[in-house]
């Protein structure tokens, strides 16, 4: 599991579940805080499609922390004001880096639930897709019709 996948699951998971996974790790391993949990900002860099250039759209508040677990480092960064969750994420990340994490099955189950939720929401939105019945043959329907017009 790469870091993007790991942090997607953790970011979308309830803080209680993340805390419980982290607590289990801390029962058996020595964790020291390298960077105290704190709030900071992340600036969003966006590519605009018109001229393919970059611009800063605005900032988001993120919570971050870095820990060391038996010599292996781990970090946690997540959107919002939840420094505790960022710390727990860092513990899980360190445990994975140290190859002592045993909760992978739980993460994969969470991921499935998260994907399922998004797909159900998506289904609600797709129900609002329009089926046009043109009452006028002159109306350009798509790009090719546009060329003809």
């Amino acid at each position: 599991m790469d870091k993007k996948q790991l942090f997607t699951i953790l970011a979308k998971a309830d803080r209680e579940i993340v805390a419980s996974l982290s607590d289990d790790i801390q029962k058996n391993h020595n964790v020291t805080v390298v960077k105290e949990p704190a709030k900071t900002l992340a600036m969003i860099k966006l590519r605009e499609p018109v001229k393919q250039s970059l611009f800063y759209m605005g900032e988001v508040i993120v919570s971050e922390a870095v820990v060391e677990l038996d010599g292996a480092k781990g970090m946690g960064v997540t959107m919002g004001d939840d420094t505790e969750k960022a710390l727990h994420m860092a513990v899980i990340d360190a445990a994975i880096n140290h190859h002592v994490f045993t909760g992978m099955d739980i993460l994969l189950k969470l991921e499935q639930e998260q994907k399922d939720f998004i797909m159900r929401e998506n289904a609600m939105h797709l129900k609002t897709m329009v089926n046009f019945n043109s009452m006028d043959g002159e109306v350009p329907s798509d790009v090719n019709a546009f060329k003809k017009v």
């Binding site: 800063y56 508040i61 797909m119 159900r120 798509d142």
Partner: protein, 354 residues
């Protein structure tokens, strides 16, 4: 004309601030920040957009603190962000990958990926629904959740852009990828002429009313364009930052809801062989602001004598904090300057009588 410092009114000011609590207290009925965040979403979106800070919970809290004043809430968020470090810049967000919740085109009825109306007030009757007075919020939420649970999951697929099709035809110019680091108007003063990145950042966080009014003026004739909304899309984009311990890895930190618009306009070349595109992108669901931004973007590209085509006019007067701060300062004591004006008027009147 000099400024003179005066003191006094300390107790009155303290009582005035205390009186705000009296006004804010209303009745015993509270409005929780969770309720503002989730049930006043469009207001929260507007505040976040104008503050240039995406934080639903803090925007809701700020709105509660200032009785729902948008400009005060923007001020609070801007002030708060100024106390924080900025330790991260996201990896480049590409809205091609947006998880779309609404997407329409006024240019073509059949677009690849389809027209998805999503949740919109466009087709509502705009009649006040008095039943909401007696609504059971728990029941409403439960019903919405059970509707969701009954849905058959559908894979999320990225929607191709309407403009891409026209680019393939050569009807819209295609530009090479430009990786020049953006100008940041939060850390640098605007200079004119300014970079496109400075323009887009400034417009994206501009006051909704200001740029909507400006765009309206351009459409009514004080400008050159009457665009067609080529594509309006609203949805979630993922934010990722670099992973500290391995440069090949990235960390997902969350997703933001945004609205993006591409407006197609008359040709910008002399032979009128092509269409030109204006661009708008704002936090949250805020369609008119995104369209207005796209109109203004195109007007500024055009250049000309109308206010909407004047970069300095548009970009220097639309920041919520700056405009409201400056207007608000007129309430501050101007005793000395006003006395001076009064003296001048009196002297002129005396001279006229003599």
């Amino acid at each position: 004309m000099a400024y003179v410092a005066v003191s006094g009114g300390k107790e009155a000011i303290e009582e005035s601030i205390r009186l705000l609590d009296y006004y804010r207290s209303g009745t015993e009925k509270d409005i929780e920040t969770e309720a503002i965040e989730n049930k006043m979403s469009l207001l929260v979106d507007r505040v976040m957009s104008e503050a240039g800070l995406y934080s639903r919970t803090y925007a809701a809290l700020a709105l509660k603190q200032c009785e729902g004043s948008v400009e005060e809430a923007v001020f609070l968020l801007r002030a708060y962000r100024s106390t924080l470090t900025r330790n991260y810049y996201t990896k480049t967000v590409d809205t091609d990958d947006m998880r779309v919740v609404r997407r329409i085109s006024a240019a073509f009825k059949d677009i690849l990926g389809g027209q998805i109306l999503g949740a919109t007030y466009d087709y509502t009757h705009r009649l006040i629904n008095f039943d909401i007075n007696h609504e059971d919020p728990a029941r409403l939420h439960k019903e919405a959740q059970s509707r969701l649970a009954e849905e058959q999951p559908q894979e999320v697929a990225a929607c191709p852009r309407v403009s891409d099709e026209l680019k393939k035809e050569g009807l819209i110019d295609t530009f090479p990828t430009n990786d020049t680091q953006p100008y940041d108007v939060t850390t640098n003063m605007l200079e004119f002429p300014c970079d496109r990145s400075a323009r887009l950042q400034t417009l994206s966080r501009a006051d909704t009313g200001f740029i909507s009014g400006l765009a309206y003026s351009a459409l009514r004739g004080f400008g050159q364009i009457h665009p067609t909304v080529g594509e309006l899309r609203c949805g979630y984009v993922e934010l990722c930052v670099p992973y500290l311990f391995d440069e090949k890895e990235t960390i997902y930190i969350g997703e933001v809801l945004m609205t993006e618009v591409e407006c197609f306009n008359e040709a910008d070349d002399q032979d009128k062989l092509k269409l030109a595109v204006g661009y708008g992108a704002v936090f949250g669901r805020n369609e008119n602001k995104a369209i207005a931004m796209a109109v203004i973007d195109r007007e500024l590209d055009n250049g000309g004598d109308y206010p909407t085509q004047n970069e300095e006019f548009v970009l220097m007067h639309g920041d919520s904090l700056e405009m409201n701060g400056f207007i608000s300062h007129l309430k501050l004591p101007h005793y000395v300057t006003f006395q001076s004006k009064l003296d001048a008027v009196r002297k002129t009147r005396r001279a006229d009588h003599e």
